[in-house]
Symmetry: C2
Subunit: 453 residues, 2 copies
Amino acid sequence: MAETTRQTRTAHQLRMLSDALDSGRLGPVRRLVNTLSPAEIGNLLESLPPTRRNVVWGLVDTEDDGEVLLHVGDDVRESLIAEMDPEEIVAALEDLDIDDLVELMDDLPEAVTEEVLRSMDRENRERLEQALAYPEDTAGRLMNPDVVTVRADATVDVVLRYLRLRGELPEHTDRLYVANRRRQYLGQVALSALLTREPSTPVNTLLDEDQPAIAVHTSANDVANAFSDHDWISAPVVDGNNVLLGRITIDDVVDIIREQAEHRALGAAGLDEDEDLFASPLRAMRRRALWLGINLTLAFVVASIIGLFESTLEQVVALAVLMPIVASMGGNAGLQAMTLTVRGLALGQLGGGNVRTLLVKEITVGLLNGVLWALVVAVVAGLWFHSSMLALAIASAMVINLACAAAAGVSIPVVMRRLNIDPAIAGSIVVTLVTDALGFFAFLGLGTVLLLK
Amino acid sequence: MAETTRQTRTAHQLRMLSDALDSGRLGPVRRLVNTLSPAEIGNLLESLPPTRRNVVWGLVDTEDDGEVLLHVGDDVRESLIAEMDPEEIVAALEDLDIDDLVELMDDLPEAVTEEVLRSMDRENRERLEQALAYPEDTAGRLMNPDVVTVRADATVDVVLRYLRLRGELPEHTDRLYVANRRRQYLGQVALSALLTREPSTPVNTLLDEDQPAIAVHTSANDVANAFSDHDWISAPVVDGNNVLLGRITIDDVVDIIREQAEHRALGAAGLDEDEDLFASPLRAMRRRALWLGINLTLAFVVASIIGLFESTLEQVVALAVLMPIVASMGGNAGLQAMTLTVRGLALGQLGGGNVRTLLVKEITVGLLNGVLWALVVAVVAGLWFHSSMLALAIASAMVINLACAAAAGVSIPVVMRRLNIDPAIAGSIVVTLVTDALGFFAFLGLGTVLLLK
């Protein structure tokens, strides 16, 4: 509901665009598009089916092209780059900061990469090559080498004169970094301190030494957590010798935070967070086929468990009618425990002794809900098929399955994490396998024992 | 994997804490806890079972209490507040900004709310009451009234002298707002512009009029989208007459962005994003019972569809063995289409004519994957039960179910959104109902037609 305004606005834009594109009048489209910010254009392009997307992409001002490419998912980015000439790409990347260029370089055709490097001056080329040498998803890839440093022995007045000489500051500069002659990081001075103190104040009395610098090999996720733990706007990045290499700013961190959570929301359905809403069906099919194939294999495992009870099912067909209930309730309870555990793992809240505490809590919750719904299901099933033994079988199977589902929901992601398997992606399919298999086995097994002589 | 460092660190902290708490030596615990930032303490408290959580909470420095309360989920916050005396609560809230206080007020016992209001000076009390008058999840609740304004006709020099007189600037101030005599918003001046320009420069030549002010009734989600569309650090908030009311800063926006995505990740499993990892089992059970109850009701609907085919199942027990395969594949394919659609809706990318395009694309993907896996399943099922008619039945049911699952996955969340039902929460359970019901009906129906004479 709270998202309605934006949705309405986009829907309105999309309709206007649609009409204009249908009528072939591209002038109004161009005008509409170029009133938007690069991020909004990116969002708009992601909302358009491929043919229209390409038409609109051709109308975007060349100077915005680079920024727009930064604001779309990998799949859409690839499709946009495929529409551009090498010269257009080089022109689009011209005005980007090093950290943004680094993000795009991996998605460029190799020929273009070389062209881009050739078109840069030596200093920037070296900076770019250096940044690309750091592993993906580390602070080294996120940082921008454009940093303003001052000396600790200067006064506010000297710094102000230096800044007036220098002119512009890099975007999102909220603090200047204080470094020694060897560029080693000593601390920071907030712009607000420079503005509110007397000109004669020495910089070293304004020094904030509390904010530690980020090591260049820190993972992107740890960088994001540090930013949100400390409410930073920017943070300095240093190498092993504490030498200032660059600066990470909140705008890039917001993207990481969004992606972290997206990854969990989409991963649970076997989707990639970079999936294009309007990918070609063949491409989308190939992306999802593997997941469905794994699911099919597991479904056959479950079917073979049911197959063990063929003769029971022949004699008591009510078991076939009711068995999906047990599996479905187990699946839901298991996914609830799993979702909570995956979040706990992602936020670094699980580890040490508290996994066991969580396991005990979740199994207790499973037992409580198991008993509650077992009673309900026993009454309904007993009345439906006029059999108290059937009621007993389904009720017991329900309690067993909900308790085991809770145990599986906690332990499977924890074990996966230890094995370096991403529980956000693999977790749901394995937990469902366990709850299905166990649900059918428990119910049909109990049915065999209780209902057949 | 990328989250390992933080996890390792937390696990280490948790183990140290555990050992110290076991031995009853609270000194080391207190020292460890008070080296952490409020957000880190919040994260730590969320990682602890209730008894230990209360012990550690008692050791947190009183001056950090308020900030820590801001950095935990609603459930944990409630449990922490329950441990405090009214005077402790009042003391903890003393140093908080108005926007932070607003966030906490709803969770306080009524007696304490009054106490807090009484303890404030008149100006702050009025500001707080004014902020509380805005609806939840709007810009009015997020803003902080503490704003620095300057006049357009001043020079940089005059502004600098004013700032030195004023002393401190509010946290995360990256721009000063320019307003007229009636406090109407005219534009902004970046701190970096004040630092890099000559003292004689008039403020109105530095004025950035591009960034529009946020209307006070804008939804929190739209605020978050605007911040990430424009890479803002802060933004001014105005009323209907363009009068400056306050300022929203990126730190609060990051929290909203995180919550938006959390909501989708947890909502799909019927969980609330504020759920406490270590809630008491009874409380957790009650929270989840409703979801499981709805699921049970729907499972009975599905069972009653299977019940229609009792006599078929009695004659061909293989159908009972294989039927969960069709349902499970449909469920997975449906959830994939749904997850993508829910994200598209949340990001404002769906609306106008493109829903139909997405529907066509997803049904095509469903058909392609349906045909692919139908062939596989037909071969395996045919060989298993030596029946080509059974193979034909399951293959056809698979294609039908995957195509319909895709259609349901797109259309159900879109319709829910139009009806103002949150698809992130209700979507998965309804899509699964459709794919289960349809999977069983198609397979058992086709089985009846093809296998029984």
